[in-house]
Amino acid sequence: MANNDSKASMLDLFVFETNQMLEQLERLILDSEKSGGLEVAINEVFRIMHTLKGSAAMMMFNDICSLAHSLEDVFYYLREAKPPRVDYSELVDLVLNAVDFIKSEVMKIENGGNPNGDCADISERSKEFLSALKANDLSLTDTSQRPVSSELKPKYSIGVANISEDEGKSRYEATIYFDEDCGMENIRAFTIVHELSDLAEDIVYSPKDILENDTTSDIIKNEGFQIAFATQNSLEMVQKFFCKTMFLKEFKLNAVADANSKKPKQKKTIVLDDPITNEAMNSIVKEVEQQTEGTQSFISVNVSKMDMLMDLVGELVIAEAMVTQNPELHGLRLDKFYKSARQLRKITGELQDTVMSIRMVPLSATFHKMNRIVRDMVRKLDKKAELEIIGEQTEVDKNIIESISDPLMHLIRNAVDHGIEPARERIAQGKSEVGKIRLEAKSAGGDVLIMIQDDGGGLKKEKILRKALERGLIEKGDISLTDSQIYSFILQPGFSTNDIVTEFSGRGVGMDVVARNIEKVGGRISVDSIAGEGTTMSIRIPLTLAIIDGMNVKVGGANYTIPIIAIKESFRLKDQNLIKDTDNNEMIMIRGECHPVLRLYERFQVQTAVTDLREGIMVMVEADGKGICLFADALLGQQQVVVKALPTYIKKTKGIAGCTLLGNGGVSLILDVAGLNS
């Protein structure tokens, strides 16, 4: 860490790992709280606090370090003393407060700031908590003496035995000083005694109680450690031994007169207990081997590198199409070329799949954050609600996960705040006292569907209508609106902040922002509600933003790309299937169902020679459960296309999701099926 470069990367790593630990800690605490007791998690929490403390100390973030330390102490006590009465709910609050504090500090560090928060308050509370625990539990009077050491003593016994023969031994006295910053001097002194016993005997040392009394480290620090012993080994050997001791600053070694005359003959024997038997050893190794087989090794990679890789693969896909579909190849007989080209395509495809899979992250971390939100809100609002999480393993592109985290949080908050009724009200309505919020994710084709469902009061249709009327969104007497159209008004900007809305379970607060954020990543949100039974928010987001399977179609001189996932079928129209309604709208009857026809050349005002529905091609696409038939001149072929955002100088057009480059270098517009449909 001496140079700045490595310090910066260390800092990144510190931030990353600390965040991970905090997340794990939070989940641990919340899970154990749900399952009825923190007892099971004590060990784990202790370990995390310990590691947090160590890492923070290394980076010299003293506040984080001391806070983690104070909590480590609490959990150490819980682990070792197992006090019978513990106020776990207070402890949970304490730990969560600490987690919040450390999180905010880490956030500051991450943004290049100084972690200057003050944790004295939480530290103090944690210390108070610990002393309260100790006071409660009088059976364990002295807790500063850690139980391990008392266990340890019998293992190490210093016996005294007379030696009958001691020829050729010389006696030495040594005073030893350790480096100032090495820490635990008494244990270091003990290490020397312990190792010296292999080559010397008759060992006497001062201070004597190095094992039992940790304050002796100060004496050793100031006055040095005195040791006298007798050995058959040469002076050189003894010197060598001391030279090999870690953190030994200096030592004075003096030969004293004949060993025999000076001291009573004593031999120090050290009995080591607890050797691991061979069998036990074997089983450990076996177990280890089994464990490691299952575990995968991971590396962490900077997201920006992943983005770059993704971009490059995107370019590669385009370049591949440009080569293999090059117009200059038209009409040439190139069997070998096409064989190689197919191979190239296969490999690019695999490469792309792999890159995608690297970027995929399960939603679980995002989902579990919600647990905390629900917990905190329920406490604050004095309601009863629980969160049920389904399908957390569903994977989504990393970038998308980041941008849906906030909207999700918002929706969950709304569900608790406005959706779930107070317990009394719920009982009066014959519902169970505890409200249920269900957060569910599942894959649906190329999209991921996330649903937030509550069993609260639901939206009040009349009030939304009244509000919409006030704002001029609808005209008086308009009765053609479907329920879902009415509910989707709450996604309109300006429908928020108004107290009329908040009063009726106010899904208006910033809902337009939620909708906008979801649309930003190509997702859509829809609202459904049943009065008295609850509200469901469905978010449909694409798995990934970058590359889609597309069907290219030609309309006049323009190309359009339809996402393959949306296509149900394509066909040529037969006369008898075409019907017209009273407004002269064209419909196609397929298998007993009517689907409206959308002529792409009309929609996008393109000149084309093909205007007869029977001459061109019909592509039936589906979005939100509704089918619609797009009319184009001809199909050009299927291709993987890299989605590029429309340049900023083109105004956002409904029905266009973006654009892409074709193999021949031309541009194709990617159709947004849902946008066309509405």
Partner: protein
């Protein structure tokens, strides 16, 4: 000198690794817990192991004992936090060749480990 670093925190592992490699040590492996350490020790036969004490699954003391059992001449240096005196004692009795107290600085680590060269 070939070193195996054992610590459950990636951060500490990398810090140590950077320190050691800068000073001419060869870090031949890393392990995140005691059981991994035993396995890696068998595979890699390092000259020196730095061993954290508090780790999940199997702690440093158990791993130390196992390593010393397999290879009594193996060199294991414990990495311990302040306040873990009693555990360090246990480690020394189990045969640890020394210990370093966290938080450590580069100079300290190198000075300490130089005794094993």
């Amino acid at each position: 000198m070939k070193v195996l670093i054992v610590d459950d925190a990636v951060f500490i592992r990398l810090t140590l690794k950077a320190m050691l490699e800068k000073n001419g040590y060869q870090v031949i492996g890393e392990a995140a817990n005691g059981s991994e350490a035993i396995l890696k020790y068998n595979q890699l036969k390092p000259d020196l192991v730095t061993m954290d004490i508090t780790m999940p699954q199997m702690d440093g003391i158990a791993a130390l004992k196992a390593i010393k059992k397999m290879d009594p001449s193996g060199k294991v240096v414990m990495i311990s936090a302040m306040g873990q005196e009693s555990t360090v004692k246990e480690a020394i009795i189990a045969g640890a060749n020394g210990f370093i107290v966290k938080p450590f600085v580069e100079d300290q680590v190198i000075r300490g480990l130089s005794k094993f060269k």
